[in-house]
């Protein structure tokens, strides 16, 4: 009798409780802000290095052009110093974060963002036992398609306008295959990225001017949407993970005595 009484409140919530694994999974799959943060950090670092090297180089060129040898040599000395600093930084960086510690930066960023929430992990991909040759073949095909179409565009065989729409035929299958290779570690929200990439292409073909027309920037017709939509997919994933966590806490939260019960 007492058993029956105890189980009554749980019976009422049974269906809700059955949803816990679903929301836990959705939360874990979409904790993806680490990757966009790493992307931003990478871009900022590259920009900083570019500025660090470009400024003294500009100074050197300006000095020698104007016949101001002092300015030219000072600029050159600064450039050499900046280059040495960058090289030392890269050596330290590679020795600290590569090889054995390859996942350390990701771990540190993840800890910074999600540390207070604790750590969760999803089961490894089913297609795992990573087929290294498949990865190499995909990489080579992508390389050929990407640089090939870029070269054809600069040679005038492909209009800059159609560079991105043509890239849909190799970028989208690659992104979709990435999803299938990495699930269930990542959720279906990742597919927002190839979906938006395809919509972008359709809009261009339909006449919307979402592209660069100059040769110098034509490669960004592919890179900007690819990086931008992937970034967006991760950020949407992160926002969704907040929602999933809220739902999860709503289901799992127990009041006072129930929580402390034996």
């Amino acid at each position: 009798m007492s058993n029956q009484q105890n189980s009554e409140p749980q019976d009422q919530n049974a269906e809700r409780l059955k949803e816990i694994p679903k929301w836990t999974r959705r939360y874990a799959q979409n904790r993806m802000l680490t990757i966009p943060v790493l992307m931003v950090m990478g871009v900022l670092l590259i920009m900083f290095i570019a500025v660090l090297l470009a400024l003294p180089l500009h100074l050197t060129a300006a000095g020698f052009k104007k016949g101001n040898m002092v300015l030219g040599f000072v600029g050159f000395a600064l450039f050499v110093a900046a280059l040495a600093a960058v090289l030392i930084f890269l050596i330290i960086f590679i020795s600290k974060f590569c090889r054995k510690n390859s996942g350390l930066i990701e771990q540190l960023v993840e800890q910074r963002i999600y540390g207070k929430e604790g750590a969760v992990s999803m089961p490894g991909p089913k297609i795992m036992k990573k087929n290294i040759w498949l990865g190499i073949v995909i990489g080579v095909v992508l390389y050929i398609c990407f640089f090939g179409s870029w070269h054809l565009a600069t040679e005038g065989y492909i209009a800059f306008k159609y560079l991105q729409p043509i890239s849909v035929f190799y970028i989208v299958p690659w992104l979709v295959s990435e999803y299938f290779q990495r699930r269930p570690r990542i959720g279906p929200l990742f597919l927002i990225s190839p979906a938006l990439y395809t919509i972008h292409a359709i809009l261009i073909v339909a006449g919307v001017p979402l592209f660069f027309t100059t040769e110098n920037f034509c490669i960004f017709n592919i890179l900007l949407p690819l990086i931008g939509y992937t970034f967006l997919a991760y950020v949407i994933g992160h926002v969704y993970s907040r929602y999933a966590l809220k739902k999860l806490k709503g289901i799992t939260h127990l009041e006072g005595e129930a929580a402390n019960g034996d």
């Binding site: 058993n3 409780l17 836990t24 540390g115 750590a119």
Partner: protein
């Protein structure tokens, strides 16, 4: 039809259900998600572990000790069995 009393306790049921959706989760995640005290969670974890439903993994994360939990095969089976039994009890309790 006997309900597993270890799993039937509300907090332990929630712990098991959270772990059922994951490969593993650490102590901090379970504490914050379930809004429990650390001592209370430890007590429930101990019971589940001694029943063989959970596997404990101790490691270091950024030189800080980290304890993670994983549902064992026995735990997964017991959880599935628990829901089957509970559903059967609920069905048999319905009028008509």
């Amino acid at each position: 039809m006997e309900i597993d009393k270890i799993i039937h306790e509300p907090t332990r049921l929630r712990i098991m259900m959270i772990l059922a959706g994951l490969e593993q989760a650490d102590f901090t995640f379970l504490v914050t998600t379930l809004s429990l005290t650390r001592g209370n969670l430890s007590r429930h974890i101990e019971k589940l572990e001694s029943a063989g439903y959970l596997k404990v993994k101790k490691s270091f994360k950024d030189r800080v000790p980290n304890t993670s939990y994983q549902l064992t095969q026995k735990g997964s089976k017991a959880l599935a069995q628990y829901w089957e039994t509970l559903d059967a009890v609920r069905q048999s309790g319905r009028p008509g």
